[in-house]
């Protein structure tokens, strides 16, 4: 066991699965580095260095540089998956995914169903998401709600290096297409990560904190923020359960409902734009299925319905903050108190 960054955890998961299973291949822009030019082998290790060192280990047969043609190589990955490989495609920014929606929505997600369960599509698309990188509105979005909407896809949003390694290993071993979301400001985050391979099952939420008063559900980068908010309000005597569902699809709604029935209060934190995001989805499900347990209105903490601003000052205001999560928790507590009185 040693401390590893989010980036190293992902690299290790890829390496260990490639060692274990010869059908696992990587493809993407600059994952081999240098587009075949002499002297530029593994120059980048992918745009943010995540795949660094894999080329020397596994060679160009299994680490494939692709042209900047997302619809081409995502389609190739889907085809490779149905014909026996386990491709892991890196699609630099999720913001670019729009050009290959047909390959993902109408092909990869549908094969199993349209071929009567006889085809499987074990492909993973790794992609970067999230604001806070000063990368402006075309490179900062959290588009996981769009993929969560599509039956047949699995959507994974790891919240820490430990989670990233175990969830990526599970993604590669899974027989369905998986969209794996890596928050670009989390790559240097470090924690203890086991050296051995391990898989974290999908659809099994992690209880990051267990408390009695308020349930906070958060995804990805927001999980750490929610835990900080929970620790801050604990000093005022408010104890929170913090749930990281880990996967938006499948969603462990059972754990969320069970917790809300214990606490009676729910705050959902989602870095994605506020309309039709995971916060609205979870809030709707809880309002429908556990309304009688609620002691206060559900609170959602999301950014404003606007493109991510390029101005650093505005971008910092845009991203949900620990302070906003704290305020939402306190609001559910005081609303509950008024109702009780």
């Amino acid at each position: 066991m040693s401390r590893k960054s989010f980036r190293q955890a992902i690299n290790e998961a890829l390496r260990q699965e490639m060692e274990r299973d010869p059908t696992v291949v990587l493809m993407g822009e600059d994952v081999a580095g240098g587009m075949g030019a002499a002297g530029e082998q593994d120059a980048w290790g992918g745009p943010l260095g995540v795949t660094k060192g894999l080329l020397q280990h596994f060679g160009r047969e299994r680490i494939l540089d692709t042209p900047i043609t997302e619809s081409g190589f995502i389609g190739a990955a889907a085809g490779a998956a149905v014909t026996g490989l386990r491709p892991v495609a890196e699609l630099m920014f999720v913001d670019f995914m729009g050009v290959c929606f047909d390959q993902i929505f109408n092909q990869a997600a549908k094969f199993k169903y349209m071929f009567g369960g006889k085809a499987k599509t074990p492909m993973v698309i790794r992609t970067m998401y999230g604001a806070g990188f000063r990368a402006a509105s075309q490179h900062s979005q959290c588009l996981y709600p769009i993929f969560t909407h599509i039956p047949g896809l699995k959507v994974v949003i790891p919240s820490s290096p430990y989670e990233a390694k175990g969830l990526l290993i599970q993604s590669i071993r899974d027989d369905d297409p998986v969209i794996f979301f890596e928050h670009k400001v989390m790559y240097d985050l470090e924690e203890e990560v086991p050296d051995e391979p391990y898989a974290i099952p999908f659809g099994e939420a992690n209880f990051v904190r267990e408390g009695d008063d308020v349930t906070i559900v958060a995804f990805g980068r927001m999980v750490g923020f929610a835990a900080q908010a929970a620790d801050a309000v604990a000093k005022a005597g408010i104890s929170c359960t913090v749930i990281d569902p880990r996967t938006a699809s499948p969603l462990d709604l059972g754990s969320i409902l069970e917790s809300v029935r214990e606490t009676g209060r729910l705050v959902v934190v989602d870095e994605a734009s506020p309309r039709c995001n995971l916060a609205t989805d979870i809030s709707a499900a809880v309002a429908e299925q556990a309304f009688e347990a609620l002691k206060a209105p559900i609170r959602m903490v999301s950014p404003p319905h606007a493109p991510v601003p390029f101005s650093p000052a505005l971008e910092d205001l845009y991203v949900p903050s620990v302070a906003r999560i704290e305020a939402a928790v306190r609001a559910t507590m005081s609303a509950g108190a008024r109702r009780a009185a």
Binding site: E196, Y198, A199, F207, E210, K235
Partner: protein
């Protein structure tokens, strides 16, 4: 002018560098007797009680509940009711200054790391402590455990012995491929460890299933076994709470695993969130699920133990001690009866299945008696 006794952050285990005051069990102004529990200290491994080193009045709480401090830092102090506040203030200031100086000059402390040994059975992970030329003591954990189970006992022994706490196959950092599921087959790991370290003989300490494994090793290799200390061993009677094992294997959420682990201790508050998380993480490692299920199925089923080592133990001629918590809710303490001569049979009050974690000092004393 009264004597002032400092209460400092204790060091529970080799790896502990800092701890958190989880709760004070006494309020300022309350009387405390020597040996009485004054505070609960949470470490990265376990929550345990701080016992008062002396009698007196808890006059000052320096570190309130929730505060995390390095080992050795002043957390409170005892004195008599007559000691003036000014004197207490001066004592606190002086102690904190001394501690700050000591910390500044302390070479950055590193917790000892286990070593992964290559053996014919695969990787064996071992944590060693104590003088290399002293008599060796091998510490063998039970089902689902790991070398961390000895975090209190190992330092208590390491002054006198060369201690080796291993992860059994299927556990912790060791190979997840089992050499077999019987205690006899698993005992191969002890031999592999001794061989890898060039040790001919060792004193054996085994807990629960590890007790059965240590017994099997002693029977197969009497010449390599200097003494045997069994803590709530398996294989000494039929009855076992397989509900615990089922709950342990089924638990996916911290809450469910916490409830299962609480069965192990007389005082359930010893189970910390960190302990629970560490076990959940261990269980996800490739191969662990299969190894644990195979071990459980082969050794325990439907409230019964499938292994019987009582006769084997009776046939051994080596120094033997048996330690059992009277409140053991996994394997009943009644099974201790007749296992060893009365003076070598230690039934401990207020202790559950984990005497080595719950009363490590007493367990170390017993081992010292028979290991010499």
């Amino acid at each position: 002018m009264g004597d002032i006794t400092a209460l400092v952050m204790p060091k529970f285990g080799l790896a502990m560098l800092e701890g958190k005051v989880a709760a004070w069990l006494k309020a300022e102004g309350e009387q405390v007797s020597a040996g009485e529990e004054v505070a609960e200290i949470e470490t990265s491994k376990i929550t345990a009680a701080l016992e008062s080193p002396a009698a007196g009045t808890l006059r000052r709480i320096v570190a309130p509940a929730g505060e995390t401090l390095p080992v050795g830092a002043l957390i409170g102090l005892l004195t008599d009711a007559a000691t003036p506040e000014a004197e207490i203030d001066a004592f606190v200031a002086a102690a904190q200054e001394r501690f700050a100086e000591a910390m500044a000059s302390r070479v950055s402390e590193v917790a000892p790391e286990p070593t992964r040994l290559d053996t014919p059975l695969g990787t064996i992970n071992v944590l060693e402590a104590g003088p290399a030329d002293a008599a060796a003591v091998v510490l063998v954990h039970g089902f689902g455990g790991g070398l961390d189970n000895f975090l209190f006992l190992q330092p208590a022994l390491a002054g006198r012995y060369r201690t080796l706490a291993l992860d059994l196959p299927g556990h912790g950092g060791s190979t997840k491929t089992l050499p077999g599921t019987s205690p006899e087959a698993m005992a191969g790991a002890i031999g592999a460890l001794l061989d890898a370290r060039g040790l001919e003989r060792a004193h054996l300490v085994g807990h629960s299933l590890g007790g059965a494994i240590a017994t099997a090793f002693a029977a197969a290799h009497p010449g390599r076994s200097a003494s045997l200390t069994l803590i709530s061993p398996a294989g000494m009677g039929e009855e076992i709470n397989t509900g615990y094992i089922t709950a342990f294997l089924a638990a996916r959420r911290p809450k469910a695993l916490t409830a299962a682990l609480e069965t192990l201790f007389a005082d359930p508050s010893l189970v910390s969130r960190e302990m629970v998380d560490a076990i959940l993480r261990f269980r996800r490692l490739d191969g662990v699920e299969a190894a644990l299920s195979a071990l459980a199925a082969a050794n325990f089923a439907e409230g019964r133990q499938k292994i019987a080592l009582r006769a084997t133990l009776a046939g051994l001629s080596l120094p033997l001690a048996v330690i059992w918590g009277r409140e053991d809710r996994v394997i009943p303490a009644a099974q201790a009866e007749g296992l060893a001569p009365p003076e070598r049979l230690h039934l401990l009050d207020h202790v559950g299945h984990m005497a080595h974690l719950e009363q490590s000092a007493e367990v170390a004393r017993v081992i010292g008696e028979i290991a010499g």
